[in-house]
């Protein structure tokens, strides 16, 4: 089936060549990081995680959001999602791969990665996270490839495929819950030490991931003529909207608890991110941009007339993804380190090397997604003819 990815028009190959060159730049930057150490990044003793772990967190959310099409299609037989479901699953595959690569990029000694499995430590959340992530990657890849293969041959899928898909539904929730537990169990980091973190992770994931799926569906329609259907996009838009509403609601509850209780440790990080702390305002403009674009996109999505218009839908979905990327991919991780355990405010700016590595990993994920979706489109279009 994979041979279908080897036949494409000129723009397909230009796109592939572009992605490969970005991967090349990323690899050379990573080579520099391996040689000189993580000192080439913007991270330091006080802000010891940065862009990489932030991307990891955001992408696990995108991966988990596949459940927003898998669950309605397989459990509730929502036929509108027939053409979308495999796109969601393959998005989950590439997002999971990217998130694992970001963990690898962040490690000081990636050559010792297998130590996590050689010395299994159930008390460490990383151990569970690696288990659920690799399991999720495998089950999504295997089940969606098997479904597509069966569809191509015009035969019903093998008996084991459906149970695997059913298993992937609770697994998707577990993937993002465990990711939230990575942060929510640390006694000294008060921005993360909150029981609302896992539900908020799920809400922001379902909003951003679903909005991204709508955008990918538009891109596919534009570039290949393969249309997953207006009804599917309309339903996804409703799902993204309410997940977005839930996300803003959870953020509001964080604000209430922190500022009404007035407990300094609870409010300092939020204060730093949104209002500035002791003369430091590094993330304030970015966080307000995130909040305003998030709220604005949800308002647009809530109005049926706007939601049904393609330009408005594309605009709102892009704004929602960007808003959550900033909130979860920048604010949440960096904000957790400020103030430091010794009450210091340290600023963080990613270096060029760090940004190149990040772009390189994104390019790997997008390349994988492009190849997988190329096969999907070829198989589906063949069937339609």
């Amino acid at each position: 089936m994979i041979e279908k990815a080897l036949k494409g028009n000129r723009s397909y190959w230009i796109w592939i060549a572009f992605l490969i060159s970005v991967i090349g730049i990323g690899l050379s930057a990573y080579n520099q990081q391996r040689w000189f150490g993580l000192t080439v990044t913007g991270m330091g003793r006080d802000i010891s995680w940065g862009l990489y772990i932030a991307q990891f967190t955001f992408l696990v959310g995108v991966a988990a959001s596949a459940v927003m099409v898998v669950l309605p299609y397989y459990l509730h037989h929502q036929k509108e999602f027939a053409k979308t479901v495999i796109i969601g699953e393959f998005m989950a595959v590439s997002a999971t791969l990217m998130s694992m690569l970001f963990i690898l990029a962040d490690m000081g000694r990636p050559d010792r990665l297998l130590n996590i499995m050689l010395y299994p430590s159930p008390h460490a959340m990383v151990f569970w996270d690696l288990l659920v992530l690799s399991g999720y990657l495998a089950m999504n890849m295997v089940s969606s490839w098997a479904m597509l293969g069966a569809e191509r041959k015009g035969v019903p899928p093998k008996a084991w495929v459906k149970p695997l898909i059913y298993l992937s539904i609770p697994w998707a929730f577990s993937v993002h819950t465990v990711t939230a537990f990575l942060y929510a169990g640390m006694p000294g980091r008060h921005l993360w030490l909150t029981a609302v973190l896992p539900p908020r992770f799920l809400a922001s994931a379902f909003a951003a991931g679903t909005a991204l799926l709508i955008l990918v569906s538009f891109i596919l329609k534009r570039t290949t003529g393969f249309d997953t259907g207006k009804e599917a996009r309309a339903k996804l838009a409703v799902l993204a909207t309410y997940a977005g509403v839930a996300n803003i609601f959870f953020l509001g509850t964080e604000f209430f608890t922190a500022f009404y209780s007035n407990v300094p440790t609870h409010k300092e990080s939020l204060q730093y991110l949104f209002f500035g702390l002791e003369g430091h305002y590094q993330f304030v403009p970015l966080m307000w941009f995130s909040l305003i674009s998030g709220v604005a996109s949800i308002i647009v999505l809530l109005v049926p007339a706007l939601r049904k218009s393609t330009p408005w839908l594309v605009g709102a979905c892009s704004a929602l993804v960007l808003s959550i990327w900033i909130d979860k991919g920048v604010g949440l991780i960096l904000g957790g380190f400020v103030p430091s355990p010794l009450q210091e405010i340290v600023e963080y700016t990613p270096t060029a090397t760090e940004i190149y590595v990040t772009l390189g990993i994104w390019a790997i994920g997008i390349l994988l997604l492009t190849v997988l979706l190329k096969v999907v489109v070829a198989v589906k279009m063949e069937k339609e003819q």
Binding site: G37, R45, M107, G108, R109, N115, S121, L182, M186, E344
Partner: protein, 259 residues
Amino acid sequence: MMNEERREFIKKTALGVLVGLGTVSGIVPAFSLEKTVLPLWDEKPVPGKIRWGMLIDTRKCKEGCQQCAAACHHAHNVPDFRNKKDEIKWIWQNPYQKVFPTASQQFVSKEIQDRSFLALCNHCVDSPCTKACPTEATFKRWDGIVAMDYHRCIGCRFCMAACPYGSRSFNWQDPRTAIHDPVTTYPTREQGVVEKCNFCSDRLVKGQQPACTEACPEQALTFGDLNDPRSDIRQLLETNETMQRKPELGTKPSVFYII
């Protein structure tokens, strides 16, 4: 010809004897080059029997004196990069509000505001760092010391995020370039692993006091077994009012302060 063979034979024999001596000194403690025999080690270690702890009498700590940190960092080949981002430190001085940010900050006397307070690994009983470590590279020893295995650490820095005291440092670059006066009694580290205070487990095994405790000209530091009611440290804890850092987090630090 004959001569060469003889020379070769003598060389190999000498090498063999050296290897044999080395092995014997490794296996039989009496022949060891560096004495590691202590009453402590005569019996099998019982987990939890000993809990090493430290009491810092901050009233005795003189401003501008850096002898404890200098002795520690020298004894453990701690690099000095002279920049805050890559900084590695095992023990260092800080003002009151940084070491005790959750203690009362209102109407603190000028004298306390000006005083230096030492910060180091607390060797917590319920240590968040060892819980977060996915490879057991940092772990609780039988005597309460939170130790590091530099050869197992994968450099994920989870322990750094988990530590509520900022006691852990990461080797952002090769530390060996920044060790100005290296010692041969403690290993250097590699790029990409985490390190921190080890309560001088390397010195305790030789029957010595921790380097910082020994170096302090004012005897401000008292090191001892918190589980032994007759130890000096327990006597001082009985007779003085003391503080721990962030006790509200439930980590049960083994480092105490007299303010």
